[in-house]
């Protein structure tokens, strides 16, 4: 991985020349894009059911994802 990162970063060196102050950066190909916000209301047609939301989790209990301790010794999920 170290050798790869060295090679990859070396490959990127040409980009370091692009520092001109009079060039604005382009962060997105659609310049005037704005967020599309839907109404702040339940949308059953596109919401996930609880079963679907938990169905791909490695571990769940009741209505929640189950995880090991977040602070220290707490036992496996």
């Amino acid at each position: 991985m170290t050798a790869y990162l060295n090679d990859a970063v070396a490959m990127l060196e040409p980009i370091l020349a692009y520092t001109a102050d009079d060039v604005e950066p382009t962060y997105h190909p659609i310049g005037d894009l704005s967020n599309v916000m839907r109404a702040d209301a339940p949308d059953p047609a596109h919401g996930l059911s609880l079963d679907a939301a938990l169905g791909n989790a490695g571990a769940s209990r009741d209505r929640s994802f189950r995880v090991p301790s977040i602070l220290g010794d707490g036992g496996a999920a």
Partner: protein, 497 residues
């Protein structure tokens, strides 16, 4: 009746709608062709016969009720395995998502189904679309149907190979830096990446959010146009904030001709280091054919092309690092068993779930977004993006479309390119278009004079001027002929009864 692989998607839809054959018979022929051919090609990660036959029977039932069928009625389609489709796993060819069941269907897949298509399965790809040869798939090696000792290109190698092998007439891929156009070139089929925003990406697993776009593969331009019409039907998708309305009738562009149109060629690209002589000759030949068809050839410049690869490998890994942070082993994806803490579980799930190229890209992205490095690289890459986009805008003041190579060479042997940074250069002609956001299409130009393998040109259109891609690709198709099924696969299984 003829073998299924001799029929285009358009002919299948017309035949099913007219009752010349049933959608179920077509589905069975496609499944038979896959069974006979995919042992040597391995384009598919999942084949879904039950879902295919169910969809086909629904199409036949609708016809029996006298309903007007959709424009893709009974057309077998395959989709890249980074697109969610209920009833399938969406693995991204990664151990991380090996058991991930699609909780919903991506808009692009749903729109093909809504148009009457018969989904037959999910295709192989580079893991999370990180690659140019499909070799980084965790599950299978997809072989180029023209020479099974060679790569199909990538990352949508399975979708390209499935069409080249005659297993399906139409498939979907995604393209972040050339992942539709480059495998299409190596497999000798048409592959179109529309302008960023034309096709919804809702339900497609994200790689580079300012670069990703979905598009179709086909063996004829008409089939690509049919696919595009289905993908944009219904207008912009409210579920994807980047989705833009597209009112183009792509089928209507097929016969417009190119008389008086201006085709831009870029001399610096045709003399580029690493471009094989047979590809350069084929692209020059394509320019001659367009000129013979009435187009004017003009020379244009893209002065900042040299920055494109570096800009791409800053922006792409940075966005990938951000997008793939969601795979924490909790909500979905591989979960390391027996971990005492959440931190340990997250770390080991990612360590054991991701393959080597996915780790490389994320490590590179993490470095590039780190404090102090970010300003140097990421900011500069976005400035380069401004300049590259400006190059294209100026080029399109002088030309209606640009003609250039799609890939620097024909398909290479497995393992031939083992250095990942060398592999990145195989996308040198495609990544600038993703940086600028424009649409491009890979057009097969027959077999290379030296390799005897498919070679291709790429057409690039102004932003949201994707109609030009179909118009000029159709002109080249008239001059060069449609793509053909790879000889080793043609006619194997797939008899349409």
């Amino acid at each position: 009746m003829a073998n299924f692989d001799k029929l285009t998607a358009a002919q299948i839809a017309t035949g099913v709608s007219a009752g010349a054959f049933s959608a179920e018979d077509v589905a069975r022929a496609a499944l038979d062709a896959i069974a006979a051919r995919d042992g040597s090609v391995s384009a598919f990660l999942q084949v879904t016969p039950e879902a295919a036959l169910e969809a086909a029977r629904a199409t036949d039932a609708a016809r029996a009720r006298g309903e007007k069928l959709g424009p893709l009625a009974g057309v077998p389609v395959a989709v890249k395995d980074n697109m969610n489709q209920v009833g399938t796993r969406t693995t991204c060819a990664s151990r991380m998502l090996e058991n991930y069941e699609s909780p919903y269907t991506a808009t692009c897949v749903q729109r093909l189904i809504d148009a009457g298509a018969t989904p037959v399965g999910k295709t192989n790809m580079d893991e999370f679309a990180f690659g140019s040869s499909t070799e980084t798939s965790a599950f299978a090696r997809t072989n180029n149907p023209w020479d099974t000792g060679r790569v199909p290109g990538g990352s949508s190698g399975g979708s390209a190979a499935a069409v080249a092998a005659g297993e399906v007439p139409l498939s979907l891929g995604s393209d972040t830096g050339g992942s539709i156009r480059q495998p299409a070139a190596l497999c000798g089929v048409f592959g179109m990446k529309p302008t960023y925003g034309v096709v919804s990406r809702y339900g497609v697993v994200a790689f580079g959010s300012s670069l990703d776009q979905v598009g179709p593969f086909g063996r004829t331009v008409e089939d690509v146009a049919l696919g595009m019409n289905a993908l944009v039907a219904g207008g912009s998708d409210p579920l994807d904030s980047t989705s833009q309305p597209c009112g183009t009738d792509f089928l209507g562009c097929l016969d417009q001709g190119v008389e008086g149109a201006r085709v831009g060629v870029i001399p610096q690209l045709l003399d580029a280091e690493g471009l094989s002589p047979e590809v350069a000759a084929a692209v020059r030949g394509a320019a001659d054919k367009l000129e013979a068809a009435g187009a004017e050839i003009v020379e244009v410049e893209l002065p900042h092309m040299d920055a494109a690869i570096a800009a791409y490998y800053v922006i792409g890994p940075a966005e990938a690092f951000s997008n793939l942070a969601r795979f924490d082993g909790v909500r979905y994806g591989y979960q390391e068993p027996g971990c005492a803490t959440l931190a340990e579980q997250s770390s080991l799930s990612r360590a054991h779930g991701f393959g080597i190229e996915a780790k490389r890209r994320q490590m590179l992205g993490a470095y590039l977004l780190s404090s102090g490095v970010y300003d140097e690289y990421y900011f500069a890459a976005q400035k380069a993006r401004t300049l590259i986009t400006g190059d294209y805008r100026r080029a399109f003041e002088r030309a209606d479309v640009l003609l250039m190579p799609a890939a620097p060479r024909a398909a290479w042997r497995f393992g031939e390119i083992s250095d990942p940074t060398q592999m990145y250069l195989s996308d040198v002609f495609t990544v600038p278009i993703n940086i600028a956001g424009n649409g491009g299409i890979s057009v097969p130009l027959g077999l290379g004079a030296d390799s005897g393998l498919p070679v291709a040109a790429q057409l690039v259109a102004p932003s949201f001027g994707d109609a030009a891609l179909i118009r000029f690709a159709a002109a080249l198709e008239r001059a060069c002929g449609a793509a053909s099924v790879a000889p080793a696969c043609a006619g194997k299984g797939g008899e349409l009864k």
